[in-house]
Amino acid sequence: MGRHFDNELKDLKFSLLAMAGQVEEMIGLTEEALSDPGGTKAARVNELDRAVDEWDLKLDQACIDLLALRNPIASDLRLIASTLKIVPELERIGDHCCNIARRYRILAPQPTVLPGDGLERIGAETRSMVRRAVDAFVNGDAALARAVIDDDDSVDALYQGLYKDLLRVMLSDPLSIERASHLIIVIKNWERIADQATNIAEEVLFILEGVNVKHAYLRDSRL
């Protein structure tokens, strides 16, 4: 093996980064779609989703080829196995963005039902988690990956708070129910994206340290 294989692994990493870059762009555009009644941002999110899906197929095949032809072991194996799991997470984040952007496009021309900046905050916090999970991958930064995993709780808390706010809105004003229902799904989508950023961070830790930190409660219950 040696240099040739190293270059192939480098290509794999660059491809994953290119895919992650497009997903990050999708997230940014998705946030902006809420204040874009014309729908150009949402349309762009859909276009990018197609590119992300193409990356999904390409990276899948690249990983299978490397596994079949290069017999990777140790950290090479961990990188490829984890890439196989990170790619669908990114692809799924893209799908969630499409979903959120579509609903934002519907809501953008209408009066808002949710006072405060809760939507902006859950969007920004989730985007930050995805960006830092990808940074942790790029820079091999285990501490950053752990920080991303810890941040999942704060997005969960934001979600819970917004969910209650939206229930209150619906109870107090039946005319807001349709818009608030869209937002209930939107905040769930953001919360899922944060979960997926967490999954990516967990894979990064596996690549870097060979430890599986998933489902910590199972580990605790065994002790």
Binding site: M1, G2, F5, D6, N71, P72, I73, A74, S75, D76, L77, R78, E209, G210, R219, R222
Partner: protein
């Protein structure tokens, strides 16, 4: 016949140029793993009692030190793979386990090797009977220019076994054990040299099995075989470990990963890392191990 190249005794002592980690805190004690944490590891291999214990072995060929303070435990009914670049001492260690190094002039060995609890370097140990308990299989198959039957019967013959029924039984049992019986049962009295390379290697394994050894030592047993014959030997190793303890030297990382329960990585006469194969090949502790097994050494 041993295929190891002659050892250059005149060379200066060849010491590692980069500092090695201190003699590894042997991670061989499997400790406690969570259920499912090492799903491919043979769980019985974790609990097996020791069969071979190498304790603080230093070995010198003349002035050249070939092994530095090796500590290694091979558990009963498990397969231990010894890996490392050429000249790292893995074959030397293998030959220390059945005292084959005794045959080389100027060899000096310090430390202790016990097999089934018996110190094999203790004064008064009968080396011949010791070697009977250790079958050895070499890189190049080396059947005797005799019939298949006589090749397998050889060990019994030199032990003086004359009873035809006993020899017949041993030959059949050993050939079955080596997975060769069905292919040769109708031509037991043909020459062993007429067999294919893979069959000859299995014949040598059968010959080793005939004397009912405790341990089978294999020095690159598949390096001259095609993938099919290699696959058969690897399957056989898997079968044999039910009854024997196996130590195998291999340059084929995938083979070490496939057949062994434990793997030990050697470099310049030192044991760098030893551990459960599943762990060593997915998450080795030492950078040097990682570089070697992933083909980036040096």
């Amino acid at each position: 016949m041993d295929n190891t190249p002659p050892i250059p005794v005149a060379e200066p002592v060849n010491r590692p140029t980069t500092p090695l980690p201190p003699s590894p805190a042997l991670e061989q004690d499997p400790g406690t793993f969570a259920p499912g944490e090492l799903p491919l590891t043979d769980q019985a291999a974790l609990k097996a009692p020791p069969m071979i214990e190498v304790e603080g072995i230093n070995l010198f060929y003349g002035t050249k030190q070939a092994l530095y303070d090796i500590n290694l435990t091979v558990r009963r009914n498990t397969v231990m793979a010894l890996i490392g670049p050429s000249g790292c001492g893995k074959s030397t260690l293998l030959r220390s386990i059945n005292r084959m190094n005794d045959l080389i002039d100027g060899v000096r060995i310090e430390g202790r090797v016990t097999v089934a609890g018996e110190d094999i370097y203790a004064p008064g140990v009968d080396v011949i009977s010791l070697r009977k308990r250790m079958g050895m299989v070499f890189q190049k198959s080396n059947p005797f220019p005799k019939s298949i039957y006589e090749n397998v019967a050889y060990g019994l013959r030199i032990q003086g076994v004359k009873d035809r029924a006993i020899v017949d039984e041993a030959v059949e049992r050993s050939l079955i054990g080596a997975g060769l019986w069905d292919e040769v049962k109708d031509r037991l009295h043909d020459s062993g040299l007429g067999l294919s390379g893979g069959q000859q290697q299995r014949l040598c394994i059968a010959r080793a099995l005939a004397v009912k050894p405790d341990v089978i030592l294999m020095d690159e047993p598949c390096s001259a075989l095609d993938p099919l014959a290699t696959g058969r030997i690897e399957e056989l190793i898997f079968e044999l470990k039910r009854d024997y303890t196996i130590v195998i030297v291999t340059h084929n990382m995938q083979q070490a990963a496939r057949v062994s329960d434990y793997t030990a990585f050697f470099w310049m006469g030192k044991l760098v890392e030893v551990g459960l194969t599943e762990k060593l090949f997915t998450n080795p502790r030492e950078r040097m191990t990682e570089d070697y097994i992933s083909g980036r050494f040096g």
